[in-house]
Symmetry: C2
Subunit: 189 residues, 2 copies
């Protein structure tokens, strides 16, 4: 019996997980129909431009989530220290303590990046800029703040790669703790 009145936004999380597991090129429509429970008709109704539009919708949702839960607090919170602690907590939660990869980072590595270059570039750029802002508010010089932001955002991506390569999420958790500790030492907390 066909489901009715499914909403476009309902399928986006499932699409995200499929792209994470198979990559953009490896995610086939048959896998997508199976996992979402929607036929091709429904999928093309929601995403007339096919797989490309699905990936774009996923990237937009990621963008929104990080802006609301991580980037905006870093930029706007009066208490910069707790906004940085919040970042580590939320990021750890988002990546399921290392059991989930970063889709944007995965897209960045191969030619998939070229199809979504603006979104891929901005995700990391805004993340680093927001963290830099919070660090400057804690008294760090602009140059130092930028450098540590680059180290932290890069360190998180690398820990996700390493954790998956060893099938050991604890590698990610350890990296997060190490990076948080280093930031807190630098800003004297």
């Amino acid at each position: 019996m066909p489901k009715v009145f499914a909403e476009r936004s309902d399928v986006i999380p499932a699409l995200g997980e499929i792209f994470r597991e198979y990559g953009f090129a490896g995610a086939s429509l048959s896998e997508i129909t199976e996992r979402t429970g929607l036929g091709k008709g429904s999928l093309y109704h929601f995403f007339p431009n096919g797989k490309n539009e699905m990936a774009e919708a996923v990237l937009n949702e990621i963008d929104t989530w990080f802006n609301e839960n991580v980037f905006a607090p870093l930029r706007e919170s009066e208490d910069a220290v707790s906004s940085i602690r919040l970042m580590f907590n939320e990021v750890n939660r988002y990546f399921k303590s290392g059991k989930r990869i970063c889709l944007v980072g995965a897209f960045a590595l191969d030619h998939t990046r070229d199809h979504f270059s603006e979104k891929v570039c901005n995700y990391f750029k805004i993340w680093m800029n927001s963290l830099t802002t919070a660090l400057k508010r804690n008294g760090l010089a602009k140059k130092d703040a930028k450098e540590i932001a680059e180290e932290v955002v890069g360190g998180i991506q690398g820990a996700l790669v390493l954790a998956r390569s060893q099938d050991d999420p604890k590698i990610f958790v350890r990296a997060m703790k190490r990076l948080e500790k280093r930031i807190m030492e630098l800003i004297g907390e």
Copy 2:
């Protein structure tokens, strides 16, 4: 006019670059025939098991290269400090100062990992273990050595992701310098 007497080992570097650019799933045989200049007949002559065997050959070559140029010196060199400097130099050269990604790291992220899990796992494991050995030889406690090795190998992977996301190889070069400096400070050089 058909080339004759091409050798299997001749095509492996080209295969590596194709997999880096397109990922395993995204690398099509038509792209491979085009870039290697070999017809499907020749390719299946060299790699009877098709794409899978091609990727395996690439991973084997990567394994050999890193063992000879990076891992073995780390484990065996009498001068542990210069073996660590050598590591940073060789790794920087291998990844073309951030213009080339790590194929093993890319494979690790999606389900491609499951097809080559042993090789993917061992590449990073042996890298971290070799670096740990060199660090212990410089007087670091085992626990500290393991932690810094994890940080450095992860940091390199993350920097590759970040550099490509921003299309800015300098991010990778900066990370390499930062990581080398941190190691040298820790072992008191």
